[in-house]
């Protein structure tokens, strides 16, 4: 029994040392997002609290903690409180399988990519629950929009993942990274990378697809009735999800923790640094797009998802499969 307790203790230790960096980096990423947004619009962005305004998010978080949590009288109390918790938990739980280097991973499971996909597809529950439990028009409309949007774009993300898996022949995230040792998949599967990126924007409700919280139409969408810490949890969960999508993109297409070239001075840099750089690169793209692209209309969003991305990624899947089959490059299983 003591043995099990020891293992349990070790795991908890590992989990804490995974969670703290993620939460800190989420705070930093919020700052980066606002900063980039400001710079693109020729503003300064947050630059007052701490050096370069780095502690702005911390100050915001403190403010949220000390604010009162207001629960609407007509709300379904249990579901209302559960919703931000679900969002936050699901956003953090997915990080368990993200490999930062060959052995720096909390759970190196066989079906890592399916786990990521499953957890990201559960993310819609937090939003639906929050929107429904608020018992008010705008949150409900926002929740319905967001559920429809996330379910639609998940389909194309799934097919894009199948594209990559066809080339790798394994569902393990470390195997996916190692298979890109010679060539990052962003080169042969470039169209898929673009579609993945756009679908990730839609999946995380980022502009130009932030219709669930379109402030001109729906006040703040599903989080209209939330205040204080519960709002902050939605917000943290959202950004943790964005980071997760960036990590997923860098694992699937940009070679994860692999260095950019395997030659002498470059490959001395440890692999977590490469992973972080790639996540940051993708996040910068997210932030830039938020600043420069106007919002889509809802029917355009649905059309893009179902009528363009889905057929295109299906055709590309057939192409990839035929190419691999014809040139006998399909991954082999040794039995």
């Amino acid at each position: 029994m003591t043995e099990y307790l020891q293992i349990l203790g070790q795991e908890i230790y590992k989990i804490i040392f995974l969670l703290i960096p993620i939460l800190v980096s989420v705070a930093m990423i919020v700052w980066l997002d606002r900063r980039v947004w400001g710079l693109v619009q020729k503003r300064r962005g947050p630059n007052v609290v701490g050096p370069f305004g780095l502690f702005q998010t911390l100050a915001d978080a403190l403010k949220y903690i000390f604010k009162e949590i207001i629960i609407p009288a007509s709300a379904n109390k249990a579901v209302f409180i559960l919703a931000p918790i679900v969002t936050m938990t699901l956003a953090l739980v997915a990080w368990a399988v993200i490999p930062m280097s060959e052995d720096l991973v909390l759970a190196d499971i066989n079906v890592g990519i399916l786990y990521l996909f499953a957890v990201s597809s559960l993310g819609v529950y937090g939003i639906i629950m929050g929107g429904w439990a608020s018992n008010s028009k705008y949150p409900f409309l926002g929740a319905i929009r967001s559920a429809a949007q996330m379910v639609s774009y998940e389909v194309s993300i799934g097919i894009i993942i199948i594209n990559v898996l066809l080339c790798v022949g394994s569902l393990n995230l470390n195997d996916i990274v190692l298979a890109q040792k010679d060539l990052w998949y962003v080169i042969p599967l470039f169209p898929m990378f673009v579609i993945f990126f756009i679908s990730a924007l839609a999946e995380t409700n980022r502009p130009p697809f932030d219709l669930p919280e379109a402030e001109a139409e729906l006040v703040a969408g599903y989080q209209t009735e939330y205040s204080g810490m519960m709002y902050a949890m939605f917000w943290l969960g959202e950004y943790a999800n964005i980071l997760l999508m960036c990590a997923m993109g860098s694992i699937l297409f940009l070679g994860g923790w692999l260095p950019i070239m395997d030659i002498y001075p470059i490959n001395l840099i440890p692999s977590p640094v490469w992973m972080i750089l790639k996540i940051l690169f993708l996040f910068l793209l997210f932030a830039l797009i938020k600043a420069i692209v106007p919002r889509y209309r809802y029917d355009q969003l649905m059309r893009l998802g179902w009528k363009i991305f889905l057929p295109f990624s299906l055709i590309y899947l057939v192409l990839t499969a035929s190419f691999l089959f014809y040139f006998d490059k399909l991954p082999k299983v040794d039995i």
Partner: protein, 208 residues
């Protein structure tokens, strides 16, 4: 093994409890949430016996897609508190139907379990090998060789169901403006702008 069995009982107690709550809870929304909990704990049980692929697929398909649709329907229809008319109402025709269906399901389960127990080569397969290959690979090897016909047939059945559902709910709506992207992009000033002389005291009709 003790930790393993603790986990097993943990998940199975949750699964049984939540499946009971699905049929007994008064509010339909709560039923759906308990159904989701049930799916998740059964997914965990799948993972515990080593069928990680099936567990994840259960999570993705049932929790990630099917239950979302359930939730949608329940929220949209606003079936608030269920009145207990199913059991109390005088013309309750639900109980016989329910009984017939559940007895049928029980018989089917008996047939399946019995067949599996007493006919040893029921699941025989030339491709099923017990080796170090992960169970995703094994599933693929079995499904795409021995059972390829059934697999494809299942796909066709699902496709037919999808087409049927679309046909049943499809209705042509009149008077809805549709945006044609090709027309919109190929517009140029000569076709888009028109100069009209408006007579005084008479309106002009634009946009037909």
């Amino acid at each position: 093994m003790i930790v393993h069995s603790i986990f097993f009982y943990f998940f199975s107690v949750i699964a049984i409890f939540s499946s009971l709550m699905v049929i007994t809870s008064r509010s339909t929304i709560n039923s759906v949430f308990f159904l989701i909990l049930d799916f998740i704990s059964i997914g965990c049980l799948f993972i515990m016996v080593g069928a990680e692929f099936l567990g994840m697929i259960l999570l993705i398909v049932y929790v990630g897609a099917v239950a979302v649709l359930f939730l949608f329907v329940v929220m949209m229809l606003n079936v608030a508190e269920q009145k207990q008319s199913w059991f109390i109402g005088k013309k309750s025709t639900h109980i016989p139907t329910g009984l017939i269906v559940s007895v049928l399901i029980l018989l089917e389960l008996l047939v399946v379990v019995g067949g599996w127990k007493y006919k040893e080569d029921l699941m025989s397969s030339s491709t099923l090998l017990l080796s170090d290959v992960s169970n995703t690979h094994q599933l693929g090897l079995v499904m795409y060789t021995d059972y390829i016909l059934y697999f494809q047939l299942a796909g066709i059945v699902l496709l037919l169901a999808m087409i049927g559902a679309i046909l049943l709910t499809f209705r042509e709506r009149i008077g809805v403006k549709k945006q044609s992207y090709i027309n919109q992009i190929s517009r140029n000033p000569s076709t888009a702008v028109e100069l009209i002389k408006v007579k005084s005291n008479q309106g002009v009709k634009i946009d037909d």
